[in-house]
């Protein structure tokens, strides 16, 4: 039954899925690096972006990809506001715990508003190229999945270049590594942290659009995403972007391959198994930097 072509197809699909996971996990990693915040609302913003893409396609007749022009700046601004207006106001001593509750509250509010505005009905973007496939060595890959992967890779690459090659990227990485020292050399860490949050939410905007292309969406879908994403950042070592990306690829691939012998639901448990195993045996994660030791 499990022919070579099927396995090959699963590997391809796993890698494509892993790309999307990597993009979203990089956003979560950014928040954690900047403020030690576990941002529960990340995946809720992801679904919000997916809904905006769906809405622009059905109501305005615009291709979902074009909605990025609006959602990316919008989410960037929302991220800056979120960090400057809400998270920075919390007491530093209890920041980790209270920020979880605050972002949880935001996630629930977004879910409730989406349910109120668009009802709980499952929605799907209908595209002209939605059913097109590409044959590749006997594996059939949906074009929309390739587009989604392309988006994710492009966004990750942009993020990488931004972090490594620009002055802002230096400042952001300095803020993550050592906020006090960053302030001493004249970096306005508050502003940089705000922009960092904006970048993180911008990844959710891109990911949401990519998600809307080939997934049925509903308001409570974000709970299916936040679990795997949190598992990925823990396995990758909290705070390490390359670690998160590597863990995302490995876990996405494993999930996709496990779907052959098991069904979709059981294959998802691999994320939680990986999460528990990592914390029990190697709490600093498998690809982690020094940051992760104590969280």
């Amino acid at each position: 039954m499990t022919s070579g072509a099927l396995i090959f197809q699963s590997v391809i699909l796993g890698l494509l899925l892993g790309g999307l996971y990597a993009l979203l996990a990089s956003g979560l990693t950014l928040y954690f690096g900047i403020m030690r915040v576990v941002m529960i609302a990340h995946s809720a913003f992801l679904i919000l972006a997916a809904y905006l893409a769906w809405w622009s396609q059905t109501r305005l007749g615009v291709d979902p990809l074009l909605s990025l022009v609006v959602t990316v700046p919008l989410f960037f601004a929302a991220g800056v506001l979120l960090q400057r207006g809400l998270l920075a106001r919390l007491r530093p001593a209890t920041l980790t715990m209270m920020s979880v509750l605050l972002t949880f509250a935001i996630a629930v509010i977004i879910e409730g508003l989406l349910g109120y505005a668009f009802t709980g009905t499952q929605r799907r973007v209908q595209l002209g190229y939605g059913t097109a496939n590409i044959e590749l060595f006997g594996a059939r890959i949906a074009v929309v999945k390739l587009i989604a992967f392309g988006l994710a890779v492009a966004a990750l690459l942009t993020l990488y270049l931004l972090l490594k090659r620009t002055t802002f990227g230096w400042a952001l990485r300095a803020t993550i590594q050592h906020p006090d020292a960053a302030r001493l050399v004249g970096i306005d860490t508050n502003r940089v942290a705000g922009y960092g949050f904006g970048l993180g939410l911008a990844t959710a905007a891109v990911g949401g659009t990519a998600l809307a292309l080939d997934t049925t969406i509903y308001p409570s879908l974000h709970w299916h995403w936040i679990g795997p994403l949190m598992a990925i950042i823990v396995v990758g070592g909290l705070g390490s972007v390359p670690g998160a990306a590597a863990a995302a690829m490995v876990l996405g691939l494993t999930q996709s391959l496990l779907q052959i012998p098991l069904n979709t639901t059981w294959a998802q448990t691999i994320f939680y198994l990986a999460l528990f195993a990592t914390l029990a045996f190697r709490p600093q994660g498998f690809f982690g930097g020094r940051l992760a030791q104590r969280f």
Binding site: F32, R36, V38, I40, L86, R89, L90, R91, T94, T96, M97, M98, V100, L101, L102, F104, A105, I106, A107, V108, I109, E111, G112, L113, L114, G115, Y116, G120, P219, W223, H224, I226, G227, M230, A231, V234, L238, N263, T265, W266, Q268, T269, Y272, L275, F276, L279, A280, P283, Q293, R294, F295
Partner: protein
């Protein structure tokens, strides 16, 4: 020595105030007990009584949550899942193994406590962030498992639990369970109170204030956190089991709901996590509101919005709870307390001068008194 007698007189002057406070607290406690005992006879209809049981169940769960949240400051969003495990454990023991209802309840609670050991091991070895992640992951993975493993758990169709007292009418059934829930709540409150006053509790609170310092002072932080997490899980599991026996019908979507976990946090935070009755008070407010809105408006997505907004407001503006916030607001109108000392600086100076004049007369033999002063 006149200087030594002075603090004693100030203490004696304070004693009536302390006694009055204690008496007021005793009266309040007595009122609470009377209210709890008389509620089943005062409830106008069985619906009100069943709604009261739901609130009591929330109070019990929230108090159980507060063992971890209140003492150590570690916030768990996954206690709903522990309650769900207790509920399903009890139900499965009764339906599949034919164990008597209340034996099943105790066994299930112990099993949840035992399961909390490996979970706590993974979650508590490092600091807060991992704990939160594990607690959320616990809810999500258990929901997946209990929905998918339909042959064993009944899946999304639910699981019916036979009633422990088949010959009781529904109102009588509610009445019995009201007292069972109240008894378990009293036990949980008692254990919380005992821990609060113990050396163990002091260690836990030290972890809450500053885990690094607590560790450097020789507190076995990991063991302390693990023990209190297991105690909390045991009570939560027992509450879930009791709910299963009372309600008689389990659905994974409601048992393993992250929303339940967040309600517990909201209740405890609202009432104040540092006080014994804080979660109870929070459950009274939030639980009643939840029931009221369910009756008035049905289940709409706006519930989520209201819950989220309330949680955000509490976290942003009164993270220590409403009770402490209110009492702080009241204190603002009282004459300001100058200092946390019981003796004022002026009194201390008088004392010191008195001691020094005495010292001058007494000679070198009294040098130890000088050090003490």
């Amino acid at each position: 020595m006149p200087s030594a007698s002075e603090p004693v007189t100030t203490l004696a002057a304070r004693r009536p105030a302390v006694m009055a406070g204690r008496a007021a607290r005793g009266v309040l406690l007595l009122l609470l007990v009377v209210a709890v005992l008389s509620f089943p006879s005062l409830a106008p209809n069985p619906y009100i009584l069943s709604a009261g049981i739901l609130v009591l169940n929330y109070a019990l769960l929230s108090t159980s949550w507060n063992f971890v949240g209140g003492f150590t400051g570690y916030i768990s969003l996954g206690h709903g899942a522990l309650a769900g495990l207790g509920a399903y454990g009890t139900a499965l023991l009764v339906t599949k193994a034919g164990v008597p209802s209340f034996v099943a309840l105790v066994v299930a609670a112990l099993a949840v406590a035992a399961l909390a050991v490996p979970i706590g091991y993974a979650a508590l070895r490092v600091r807060g962030a991992s704990f939160v992640i594990v607690s959320i992951a616990l809810v999500l993975v258990l929901l997946l498992v209990f929905q998918s493993w339909a042959s064993f758990t009944g899946g999304s169709r639910g699981l019916t639990v036979p009633r422990p007292f088949p010959d009781l009418l529904r109102p009588e059934h509610h009445r019995v369970f009201w007292f069972l829930f109240a008894g378990l709540l009293a036990l949980a409150l008692l254990v919380w109170w005992v821990i609060d006053r113990s050396r163990f509790g002091l260690g836990l609170k030290a972890i809450r204030e500053d885990e690094d310092k607590a560790e450097s002072l020789g507190i076995p932080t990991f063991a302390y956190k693990l023990v209190v997490f297991v105690v909390s899980a045991g009570f939560t599991g027992a509450a879930g089991g009791l709910y299963a026996l009372w309600f008689g019908d389990l659905d994974p979507v409601f048992q393993f709901s992250i929303l339940t976990g967040s309600y517990l946090v909201l209740m405890a935070l609202l009432g104040g996590v540092r006080s014994l009755f804080g979660p109870l008070l929070g459950a009274l407010v939030v639980g009643t509101a939840l029931e009221y809105f369910k009756v008035e408006y049905g289940s709409t997505p706006l519930h989520l919005v209201a819950t989220g907004l309330l949680l955000a407001v509490v976290v942003l503006f009164m993270p220590d709870g409403v009770l402490p916030a209110v009492s702080a607001a009241i204190d603002r109108f009282r004459p300001a307390q100058q200092s946390i000392r019981e003796v004022t600086a002026a009194e201390l100076r008088e004392q010191r001068e008195g001691a020094e004049t005495e010292l001058a007369g007494a000679g070198p033999a009294a040098s130890s008194t000088k050090e003490r002063a």
